[in-house]
């Protein structure tokens, strides 16, 4: 169990907090220290809005150690409104009715826990947009 590793990432992982290049305006998620587009090192925090569409997805039926509690679960490449793509789980969904292009929104969920006594790692997942009544 590594506490500092998760603590270090927690803010960005809870909130989908990325970076924006001050010189070429390119957005990044995951956050970077060197712009992937223009190599500038002048970057600032950028808060992604958390809405997007499924670019591709899969259903994980053989999860790695620590993730069986949600098995089976959907994982996706989510293309955010801002154009960046992030990897995340799709939660609260019907596994038989996912499709490329489906609109999704970000939520915070338990990603995994280090057993019964270790820390719980929380982070973003996406879900189908909640229908409003």
């Amino acid at each position: 169990m590594s506490v500092p590793r998760h603590w270090r990432e927690s803010k960005r992982r809870y909130r989908l907090l990325g970076t924006k290049c001050k010189s070429c305006k390119k957005l990044h998620y995951p956050p970077r220290t060197v712009c992937s587009s223009c190599k500038s090192r002048d970057l600032e925090e950028y808060q992604f809005k958390g809405k997007g569409n499924i670019y591709s997805y899969t259903i994980i039926r053989n999860p790695p150690e620590g993730y069986t509690f949600c098995r089976p679960y959907a994982a996706a490449l989510v293309e955010l409104e801002e154009g960046e793509i992030v990897t995340a789980q799709i939660t609260d969904c019907d596994l038989d009715h996912l499709e490329i292009g489906m609109p999704v929104e970000v939520v915070i969920r338990k990603l995994f826990a280090y057993g019964e006594s270790g820390i719980i790692v929380y982070g973003y997942k996406f879900r189908p947009i909640l229908p409003r009544k």
């Binding site: 927690s10 803010k11 809870y14 909130r15 509690f69 949600c70 789980q89 939660t91 609260d92 019907d94 939520v107 915070i108 969920r109 338990k110 990603l111 719980i120 929380y122 997942k125 909640l130 229908p131 409003r132 009544k133």
Partner: protein, 347 residues
């Protein structure tokens, strides 16, 4: 009780997990009569949900409605009896998620089912005294009922969050509040136990009804009102029957209770219960409506609150999903999935 400054509800937000188990299914498993059950069905948190994630979404919804910067919050207080960590605050995670750190007072509150309204009294005092411009209080639980116990039929999951702020610009003006507390052990959970215990019928008259009616009457006296003067009345909802019986005792018309009565559809969300009921009322109330909300927490005590709706409610309520939307988002599961999701299967 009243505050020095004029304050009000600046934002509110709800969350209910989407899974439901029918009471008839629980009755079937334990050989009880599926017709004689306390509620129709109850909400069940998904495997990746807990009191913390529920508090986060409810709080985010409250922040959307309040339309303020999270940095302006003076408190993130989470009332719950289902803390993911026995030691380590849930509130710090919620505060970090919201972007409210580090100039913040964050803590978890515990008082059985009134932990959330206890935090709300605190938030009222914090803002009312001028210690902060805005204060967030959350009531949330992923309640556990021992398999086959009467509580298993109702112990549900959900939560609601309230941001108190200045009266000016609020969605509902705060008129006054009151807390009534005695030492009454009707329901408890000892340290290291998985499930709570209760004193059966002792939870009724000397516990729930005594505290609810005393709190309601005292607040109404202070405000020189009758309980039935309110347009909407919300009582803590351990089942579908108790709140209706309390209304009858207090002379409140049942139509005033029904809009905030959600336990028949999702069960008892413990610390979330009265606050979710209040959220459901805020989803439908009109400007100038008077709203009375009275919680109950075992151990025991009741917090009573009086609010007057403002015209800001109309616009604000649209900024986040309402309680009805969450109740309507429903996926039925059977007892086997329920047992798995609630970690009732020994691994």
């Amino acid at each position: 009780m009243k505050t020095i400054k004029d304050i009000g509800i600046y934002g509110y937000g709800a969350y209910v997990p989407m899974y439901r188990i029918k009471n008839s299914d629980i009755a079937r498993v334990w050989g009880n009569d599926p017709e004689r059950v306390p509620v129709k069905e109850k909400s069940v948190p998904g495997p990746d949900e807990d009191a913390c994630t529920i508090a986060c979404e409810a709080s985010k919804n409250a922040l959307l409605r309040a339309d303020i910067s999270p940095q302006k919050l003076g408190t993130v207080w989470v009332g719950t009896e289902s803390k993911p960590y026995a030691v380590k605050p849930t509130a710090t995670i919620v505060a970090e998620y919201l972007g409210a750190t580090p100039s913040i007072n964050a803590a978890d509150w515990e008082f059985a089912c009134k932990a959330g309204t206890e935090a709300l009294q605190g938030a009222i005092a914090y803002v009312g005294s001028g210690m902060a411009e805005y204060a967030l209080a959350v009531g949330v639980d992923t309640a556990q009922g021992q398999p086959s116990d009467a509580l298993e039929y109702t112990a549900a999951a959900g939560g609601a969050a309230f941001i108190m702020g200045p009266s000016e610009g609020s969605l509902a003006e705060y008129e006054g509040s009151y807390s009534f507390v005695t030492d009454t052990p009707d329901f408890w959970r000892r340290q290291h136990e998985h499930y709570p215990k209760h004193a059966s019928r002792f939870t009724g008259v000397p516990a729930y009804f005594s505290h609810i009616t005393n709190a309601t009457k005292t607040l109404c006296n202070e405000l020189q009102r009758e309980p039935n003067d309110y347009d909407y009345v919300i009582f803590h909802q351990p089942n579908a029957k108790f709140p209706m019986a309390a209304a009858k005792m207090l002379g409140v018309d049942k139509e005033k209770v029904i809009p905030g009565l959600i336990s028949p559809y999702i069960g008892n969300t413990y610390a979330g219960s009265a606050m979710l009921g209040l959220s459901a009322v805020l989803d439908v109330a009109k400007p100038d409506d008077l709203v009375l909300c009275v919680s109950y927490g075992s151990g025991a005590g009741s917090d009573a609150f009086s609010f007057k709706i403002t015209d800001k409610i109309i616009e604000a309520r649209e900024r986040a999903p309402n309680v009805k939307s969450y109740i309507a988002r429903r996926v039925g599961i059977d007892y086997a999935m329920y047992a798995r999701y609630r970690e009732k299967i020994r691994m």
